[in-house]
């Protein structure tokens, strides 16, 4: 028997499909709300920044060290850079609050985006939930990059690329604009964890892994973040403070009893056996006049 479906039949079929084929949505609402960043790890990153010359535990390349050696913190006072936002690869490193919310398709209730807003430097991210079209090829690099996400059980997986060149620590260690970040978000009761795995073919020999915690803030308040550049330090227009490579030796880590060779970082410093390596490192030199601490 041949069946001919009229428009009414098609409509009934579509309605039936919508009723009966609801997609699984898993844990998709579990991140919504306000979250205070916890400051129980990496204290310097939440304050003035790590010591210049302290790269211990980071798998940096020689090129990365060269860039960091030429960096001068006075750059932060240049008007053009005063309001530069944190990149998403560094966003949680601020004493601030984050809001998370989701967007859903009004017709099928599918989660289409998860958005985050970190108050400090007004960092607004869009995490496009798959399936989503790829970004147009001319999508410009940005501080927050282009993020796509998917749920794997109760863990949100996010991949981010199309990032602007930025930094991985606030002591001059750079990140290339080819860097990418993969994150895993999960939550237990009032604690939210964001594991960030940052890759960079230029400045890292292997991915850096960092994990950040947030504490739920039921009565969260999101303050505005006005930023207006000022001439904080008079200097001729166009001057960018910097050091020529090799001119300044950063021996700040000496204050912590850290071997200067360990402070140079590298992948080997990430693993427990480096404790044994430190036993045989040459002793630190005495600080010399002109060294920067």
């Amino acid at each position: 028997m041949q069946v001919h479906l009229r428009p009414l039949h098609w409509a009934a079929g579509v309605i039936a499909w919508l009723l009966l084929a609801q997609p699984a949505v898993h844990a998709q609402s579990m991140l919504d709300g306000y979250w205070n960043l916890l400051l129980d790890e990496d204290a310097p990153e939440y304050g003035a920044g790590p010591e210049e010359g302290d790269y211990a535990g980071l798998p940096v390349t020689a090129a990365s060290r060269d860039v960091a050696q030429s960096w001068d913190p006075e750059q932060l006072t240049v008007p053009e850079m005063q309001c530069q936002p944190f990149p998403s690869t560094y966003g949680p490193r601020a004493v601030t609050i984050m809001r998370v919310w989701e967007d859903r398709d009004p017709y099928n209730n599918q989660q289409t985006q998860i958005e985050t807003w970190i108050a400090f430097s007004a960092q607004h991210r869009h995490i496009y939930m798959t399936p989503q079209p790829e970004p147009p090829p001319v999508t410009p690099d940005s501080w927050q990059g282009y993020s796509t996400g998917r749920w794997v059980g109760n863990v949100l997986w996010v991949h981010t690329d199309r990032l602007k060149a930025a930094f991985i620590a606030r002591n001059g260690l750079p990140l290339d604009d080819r860097s990418t970040m993969d994150e895993r978000f999960f939550r237990y009761a009032d604690v939210l964890t964001d594991v960030m795995m940052i890759s960079d073919p230029q400045y890292l020999t292997r991915p850096v892994i960092e994990s950040k915690e947030y504490w739920r803030a039921p009565d969260g308040i999101m303050e505005p973040y006005p930023c207006v550049p000022n001439d904080e330090t008079p200097r001729p227009k166009g001057v960018l403070p910097m050091h020529l490579p090799g001119v300044v030796v950063h021996d700040g880590p000496l204050a912590y009893g850290m071997p200067l060779q360990a402070a140079q970082g590298g992948a080997e410093t990430m693993f427990p056996e480096y404790e044994d390596v430190m036993q045989s490192l040459p002793p630190n030199p005495a600080p010399k006049a002109g060294h920067k601490r």
């Binding site: 009934a12 079929g13 844990a27 209730n109």
Partner: protein, 301 residues
Amino acid sequence: MTMARFPAAVRWLAAMILTQGALAQPPAVVPPRPLPDGQRAALFDLTGYWVSVITEDWRWRMMTANKGDYASVPLNAAGRKLADQFDPALYGGAGYHISQLIDCRAFGAAGLMRMPIRVHISWQDGNDLKLETDRGQQTRHLHFVPDHPYETAEQPVTAQAQLAQGHHGAASAQGYSVAVWEQAYRFDASSFQRGPPANDRGGLGRVAVNMAQPGGDLAVVTGNLTAGWLRRNGVPYGVQTHLVEHYQPFEDPTGGQWFDVTTEVDDPQYLNAPFVTSSDFEKEADGSKWSPHPCRQVVPE
């Protein structure tokens, strides 16, 4: 009136809805089955060799930080007073920062997973997940409660906390740990707003109770602890401390296996607030890099 008066698609729709309703009827009563033990109930496999990857807090974890440096730790006045009694002379003198003379109190349960260590995880028996470390040479036993291997992630681990604080013999550096697999979500009344699962019985608000979803984590609550250190430069925690940990496995972009352990230290004696950190461990193929290093009981208890 006959069914033939309705279009075929409407008849089909009615049949599907009626069928769905029939399937949504409560299931027949069946005798309860005994729950599996912790090992057979495992939501994921944590066994094997894992290495802590130290990219955060490097100078507090890979080294002994300066005396009096308790940055990031919400110590109260009593805690600071005790931390300031740290004596570098007992731990290597002038070279104490990188000395491997490390007090065993730094390897107590509340600080252990923050230390630079490798861990070997294996099942001692069906309800005892054993965690051993090379550096510090510690052994933890994570005890599953018989017939109670699961909990929902939305519930606080209060019952486990009470069990961990119960009487389990003398207090020790690793204390007594109670473990439970936390399933991501169970579709019950509280998950009503998340929508029904696909291809399942029931419609909105009538989803099958106790239906596990993929994913989950391992929650561990530890009590019955002796006093110890949160950091190797003498930052203390007290005997009333209880520890809540969540172990979450994940993959990196290359398919490498990791777990993250989020650690919440609650200590009414020396902390003003919970101390929360997370540490990441990468899976290793075997134990070839296992490197036992004893800790030292430098100061008699």
